[in-house]
């Protein structure tokens, strides 16, 4: 039994990954939810996460992974996510994930960010962050000060090194 749902998801490059075994296990991550055709909060959120990516610098992909999961998997296939990632200048270490609606909903429920009444335009604007190895998890608005987000996440990452 795993602590997180170990559902099968796909990255923007089409790779099949298990949410726990391949994505989270032993890692420091940020996790947010979005969809590519979202016109409410996603454009600003993604723009903010681009700044987080910048603030993470060389740590992205090495100490910290950024995970963005679509809540509209029927539209957001790996090729669509790939275009979205490229359009926003996502660097290696920032993964965009899709999967079945059911599995994605299970991940959202697990993270406690599923209170949108089934309306995807009301999906969470929170960013979960944590260190799977130490079991420390917190959440902050994905629109929070990008430098602050980066500091919080890197601090958890440093705990792995110490």
């Amino acid at each position: 039994m795993t602590p997180f749902p170990n559902v099968l998801l796909r990255t923007q490059s089409g790779a099949a990954v298990r949410f726990y075994d391949d994505v989270l296990k032993g890692r420091v991550v940020t996790i947010n939810f979005f969809f590519t055709t979202c016109t409410t909060i996603c454009p600003r959120t993604t723009a903010n996460l681009v700044k987080v990516q910048d603030a993470l610098g060389a740590s992205l992909g090495r100490d910290v992974m950024m995970i963005s999961i679509t809540v509209d998997p029927n539209t957001d296939t790996p090729p669509v996510l790939e275009r979205y990632a490229r359009a926003h200048g996502a660097r290696p270490g920032w993964f965009f994930l899709t999967g079945s609606q059911k599995d994605i909903d299970q991940v959202r429920r697990h993270l406690g960010v599923n209170r949108d009444g089934g309306d995807k335009t009301q999906h969470t604007g929170m960013l979960s962050y944590g260190n799977e190895a130490t079991g420390q998890w917190a959440a902050t608005p994905a629109m929070a000060d990008p430098a602050q987000i980066a500091r919080s996440v890197l601090r958890l990452a440093r705990r792995n090194a110490s």
């Binding site: 429920r109 079991g135 420390q136 998890w137 929070a144 430098a147």
Partner: protein, 596 residues
Amino acid sequence: MHRPRFSRRDLIKMGLMGTGYIVLGPEGRVARIEADGFDFQSPAIRRPWIQDLPLPAAPLEGPPFADCPPEYARFIDADTQFFQIEAVEREVSFHPDLGTTAIWGYRDMNADPAAASVLGPTFKQRFGPYADALTGKPKCAGGLVVRHHNNLPANHSGFGETRLTVHFHGGHVQAQADGFPEDLVSPPAGFPNKLVIERGTHYDYCYPMLDPGFDTDVAAGVDHVDLGETPSTLWYHDHLLDFTGPNAYRGLAGFFLAFDDPNANLILPHPKSALDAGDETDDRTLQLPSEPFDIPLVLQDKLFARDGSLVFNSFDHDGFIGDRIAVNGAVQPKLRVQRRKYRFRFLNGSNARIYQIFLANGSGVKYPMTQIATEAGLMAEPIRNISSVLVYMAERVEVVIDFTPFPHGTELFFENRLQQTEGREPDGLTSRGPQILKFIVEGDPVEDPSLVPDKLRPFDKITDAEKASAVRRTFEFERSHGAWVINGELAGQLTRPVARARLDRPEIWRLINKSGGWWHPIHIHSEFHRVLSRNGRLPPLDERDGMAKKDTILLRDNESVEIYFKFRDHAGPWVFHCHNMEHEDMAMMARFDVIP
């Protein structure tokens, strides 16, 4: 793994409390629980009422520190007391049926380590300000400095973060001693940027024990209109950004009781008859029941694994709800009482559970209590013959109970009849509820010098002129896309203030809860406030201006309150936030600055 999607509340309604995702570590230890539809039950308490109510000792004074921050210098002199507290992980027992539990606790470094209890030491301090004996001028120094050490373990795993900041809840102190949630990247001029206590380091907190207005009012040549709001039940607890819930849940909390000093050379004497001096035999004072008949009680709900370890769900952002209610760190303790009056100081130190406490016998028959105080200390008058008290997170409610009429051997209980299965809000009152503390009445009636006078600590209401001169602000709390929003702006940005209040200038804030289905106790740092209106009407007596002063105010679904304050003496960055700690950790918090 597939599980039916029922909420905890659904399962309780169906009588189907199941087990949740449980990660079994070595030797069957529950290593971690992180799950949606989180359902978990603590082991049964088979032997209730076998342990005595814990009453943590006061900390012991130690030698002065030569290296206090220079900003504290004006508050430190030969009368200042120095204490050293460390946050450590240690094994305690909440109940013999629950085995031993590793907690993070505050410990008095000047005391025997074996004496440490679940709670931190209970500070008991007297208030100034005093006049200089020679010149008659106000003397700000005195008070205390507490050096907090972070000696939490390296390589911690599990919920919580081993960085600390200690909030003096209800205290009126310099901002740098308030326990700001995070280091400041660009602090205001003259303000330190390093505020968090990293592991292996310490931080000094200076508590001058001065009435609000000691600087600004004296400078302005006015009386201390709020003189005497300070003898009160305060507390200290961790306040780390994003991790206050798990850190406080692990045990980082303690009491701080403040009293008047009837022998002090006070700069502006209180009416002696209104003194809350903690000595029921001193007829110059109010003579409320005093130690050992003055008993602080902190209520904290917990979940325990089979091996006694604490269980916490880091992904329950609605608010953590436990199924065992600890009173001063003990589950279902007992207290033998004499046939006389007692003072009880309730503090809700829970993350998200709200209590409504009744005094009842084993059959549920209720008995009356008298409320005497709120967060800011004594009310103007007692409220007699109440059958229950609502206590929301961080709130303090003090009652006096007279056990004289109960025959020897009578058993009475504090019973919580407010059912709550989710962190969002209580479900409602029930006819019976869990008994959390047992009283055993003993002996014949004893001599009882204590009193509950009809006037306690009268004070003037805010006048219309003061209201008219106030700066008015409105803060609307809302939920948008699963995040907390204040006035349409994302909450939680501590790098810049949402308001700049002038020192000593009256303010009226209208706090509005636009999130239906959620209750939010809002706590504002630095000053107590007066409640002018609730939903446009006169507030209930126990929070109404002229009767009570508060530092935390409840907003039920769609409620609005209007509160008045004047920020005095201490400029600097402060915060206000929801004291549902999971809401606070979800950034339901804002910074405001007080500027000269």
